[in-house]
Symmetry: C2
DNA sequence: AATTAAAGAAACAAAATGTTCTTTATAAAA
DNA sequence: TTTTATAAAGAACATTTTGTTTCTTTAATT
């Protein structure tokens, strides 16, 4: 793919990311993005149909990265999280949120954090929650399986919200402990 | 207060509510609201500074109603939910969501449901979660109290999301059972 | 019936949107 | 290198939305 396209795409993502940590999604205009990314108007619309589309693609980028390596699919060689060891998996995801070159925490901290966590939850529903639950579901208590999946995802989103609200004053390891404590009885 | 103001305010709320069940918040323009509510432009701006302001006030209206009667504060004479009996409390809230003349389910079902559940969570944090937890916190496991409060609120929001996603194909009683099953070990 | 306050209509500048066209720069292929 | 093709920039445009203003009409309170 053309290097120019790559550069433009990156510039837009980065500019958008910077804006998102300083103002809310709904208040960000295409004009702002154009100015911040320093690209032409035409160029923006050549890459993204709308601001909403940009948002979606950014989320894909962000979260597919978070869930990538080892975590998704069976491609993993890391036996520590192949079966069991949910603790490791959770810590892993949280570090991924922290780590990144991209601006995930910045974006999540901004006014539109909730919006992103909405997308995040979709990924959790597909990639994390089902791996925490056995195929079994919980305690045979007659609770729908997808209710439990949803519960775990919601709880994880809640965890992240709490973490951010408390200005990251906890390590991923501590958080994993908390999470397991409230979720373990279910899985 | 002047009846005219009341009528206008109601007209705007209702029109806005109708719009919200058919299109997403971000795509709704002030012009749409004006047309739908059938009030003058000037009138709208006399009542609400911005669309965001309208949103906030609508949420206040909606959720303060849901949490009102008996539920909030000590003003309750309903001993069934004064202490304990969380089951009753949850069922109660869920019925309130269903019941209403207002369009809560419609709004929650619309594209901006998440947005509203964000506001909803704030109310839960203040009014529901702390009453489910004793003053004690959980199992003495060294987990921050406000983490647990947040966990419960997140879980409840998740429950409502799941309920809506499944087109309300569960009774509040059933949902309360599910909720207690996943949350009881914590409280 | 007189006073007060709200609603409605019309018009406005400013900003944002999405599109079209031309020119310039950059990458890939020969 | 030279050629070819394609992406980006820039400018201009009609539309739409926004938030305000001015003025008139209508309804409530006293």
């Amino acid at each position: 793919m053309d290097r120019r396209q790559q550069k433009t795409r990156t510039a837009i993502f980065e500019g958008f990311g910077r804006l998102l940590s300083s103002k809310s999604y709904s208040k960000i205009t295409v004009q702002n993005i154009i100015d911040e990314a320093n690209v032409g108007r035409t160029t923006f619309y050549a890459h993204f149909e709308t601001k909403d589309q940009l948002l979606k693609e950014l989320c894909s980028d962000l979260f597919s990265h978070v869930f990538s390596e080892n975590l998704s699919a069976e491609s993993t060689h890391d036996f520590s999280m192949r079966t069991g060891n949910p603790q490791a998996m959770i810590t892993h995801i949280l570090y991924h949120l922290l780590d990144n070159k991209q601006n995930i925490i910045g974006i999540l901290t901004g006014e539109s954090g909730e919006l992103f966590l909405g997308f995040f939850k979709q990924y959790l529903n597909e990639l994390m929650a089902p791996r925490l639950l056995g195929d079994t579901g919980s305690c045979g208590k007659n609770i729908p399986y997808d209710f439990l999946v949803n519960h775990i995802s919601s709880s994880f989103v809640g965890l992240v919200q709490w973490w951010i609200k408390n200005r990251l004053k906890k390590t991923p390891e501590e958080l994993a402990d908390y999470f397991m404590a409230v979720i373990e009885p279910v899985v």
